[in-house]
Amino acid sequence: MTTTTLAALVPLLPFLGAAAGLLVGRTAPGFARPLAVLPTLTSLVLAALVAVRQGGGAAVDSATELTPTGSVPIELALHIDGFAALVAVLVGLVASCVQIYSTGYLRSDPRYPSYAALVSLFTSAMFLVVYSGDLIVLLVGWEVMGICSYFLVGHYWETPEARAASLKAFLVTKLGDVPFLIGLFALATDAGSFRITRILGTVASGGLDHPTLIALLLLAGVAGKSAQFPLHTWLPDAMAGPTPVSALIHAATMVAAGVYFIARLLPVFEASQAAMVVLAVMAAVTMTGSALAALAQDDIKRVLAYSTIGQLGYMTGALAVGDRGAAVFHLLSHGAFKALLFLAAGVIIHAAGTNSLAAMSRMRNLRDRIPDAYWTLTVALLALAAIPPFSGFFSKEAVLGVAEHVVTGHTEHAPAAAGWLVLVAGLLTAVLTAAYAMRLWLLAFRGRGTEAPDHGRQPLTMTVVLWVLAVPSLALGGFAFRLLPDWFDGRDLGPTLTTSVLGTGMALVGGIVTYAAWRHTTALAARVPLGAVAAHPEGDAAQVEAEAIATHEPAYGDIAYAPDPADPGRLLLGPLHRHAAAGFHLDAVYTALFVRPVQAGASLVRFLDREVVETYVRGAGALPRWLGAAVRRAQTGNVQTYVSALLAGTVVLAVAAVLVATGA
């Protein structure tokens, strides 16, 4: 088979799996698991094969136009360069891991068939986005991912949090998608084609008429999808979905699609200096803000969600300084270790019976219950904190190195201001990242107090996957920074001395300070009892998680916040803690700025409809109603009155007729 055929099969197989799963899921539940796992695994193998065949050489391009579609043609096109090949392998790997993990995590969920089918559909859409060489085909995958995300976030639709979160995720990402669509049209109109290769050719020859406008419009969609400031607010709430979904969609793949999209079209953005600066500001604000917020979250998954936002900020930062190699490098390593973090967090939530770090910090021996999760989570957190030699170190150093490269005067790709912004924010975030990673680890595994509840052994499918993902988290970076430049643009991705020392030092500082703070506060934990634990020794992990999410607000007063004086984050952040826990009140601001005016407008319209329009309607009905009432009074049921009226009318008519006939 040619590489093109293989590549076409990669998105097709999970799609067929999803269709078959939806069709037979209800009638033959036994097929649901194989139909979910096997196509995804096959796609992983095929994606790896495509990557080997492509081998970092010339991009594989193939296109077919099914039917004429008007002025700007839409083609079924593939464009597989090194980025696409490797990202597809990552998507396949994470999706396969998540599908296998889900068979254990939702093993007794009655809605598992539809869940698995939606995950397969999502995987297919993500492959489509990665491989597509045509922007409209890419958009199809982009929107299918959005709707799958909506359904999967709302998987526990019995809980109000999940319902609200799925709606919010859908609406906020769509808010970005509208300008994104307009941006795509503007871009295609300028370039005369939706094909990525032709667009890049047009940009290279300077044929783009409105680069800033197009770049900013596209940026809105990217900010929505990749959860960048100011459209990031949906991602922490989306943690109300099942943990595997968070791992796949909201950590490793879908949110990375925005970054991947910019990486594909980076020359378009580079054509506008303003867009690059906006991108840098967005990245810097996102990075630091989300890291601060992550330090204050109580829900373990919300910590990881803010962490995801921050790491995506690193990627956009790398793009803002004009190096897509570093961005995609960080995307790959982050996809691996963040998926691992989420899957391990799922195991922890199941074992602890709660998603609250405050409650976990009052549990003894949690790490002995789940040694696999303990070790793999440690590896992933070290990768997240960018401690050498874990993969996160190399990818993050690549980003910081590029920023420093720009700062030191190599501004052919990006303005120096963007370089400074990304470098400073990146270093600051490195401290904070290490701090919240340390806090999470300490609170989850070094708790003191009562024995952790016994939820039995974790299913094998869940623990094996953790180790599979631990391998790239541990070792990917060390090998990749030498190999990847061959696949990417060829620029060096190796760590430079300055940023390495600076970054690692910052991370160590953050970790040590947090540890000290924890030593200071941990004694308080025993004195302040806190926490609610969902104990379902027989139930599967999904049931425990759904209950934990549903009970967090009644138990602690807020979905993201717990009044825990033993939290080291509280000591470190000081007065900022409460604001950080609430995501710096961005939701409240949006409520005041957008939701309230819209609701006020809606109630105004309702008032107008009810009181003004309805008055006219009622007024129009009043006269017939009065007439009807009068006529009704005449309906006495007495036949004689009827006949009297009839004959009286007859006489009047007869007299009138006679008068007319005689001409009187």
Partner: protein, 132 residues
């Protein structure tokens, strides 16, 4: 004889019957008034027939033939009418026309025919028994 005499008498009788139909309460008196109206018409028919049979050469005596028909039909009508009145009287306990107001828009609680209601209900009960 002037044709005006029987014609005027016929009109007056007709209107008298009309008044009776509209004003009488008892259904049988209403039937009597209907008879008056029919007779008024008969008189008209006979008078005009006599006039035409003398004035015109060819006539079918249609007026008198129709009068005979009318008389026969009136007799049938009075038989059926009386049977209906008796059936109503048996079911409702009254033959007063202005108490038969089932088609009125709304039954007042102090409706004059509410005393006939138990009879109606028991009648329905009997129907239910009959069907059962």
């Amino acid at each position: 004889m002037h044709l005006a005499y029987p014609a005027v008498l016929s009109a007056l009788l007709f209107c008298t019957g009309l008044y009776g139909v509209l004003a009488r309460r008892n259904a049988i008196l209403v039937l009597m008034s209907v008879e008056l109206m029919l007779n008024a018409v008969n008189l008209n028919l006979v008078a005009f027939d006599v006039w035409l049979s003398k004035a015109a050469r060819e006539t079918l005596h249609s007026g008198q033939a129709l009068t005979l028909f009318t008389i026969a039909i009136a007799a049938a009508e009075i038989g059926i009418g009386l049977a209906i009145v008796l059936a109503v009287h048996r079911n409702r306990g009254t033959s007063d026309i202005d108490k038969l107001r089932d088609t009125s828009e709304r039954h007042d609680p102090d409706d004059p025919d509410h005393d006939a209601r138990p009879a109606e209900q028991s009648d329905e009960a009997q129907k239910a028994e009959a069907t059962a």
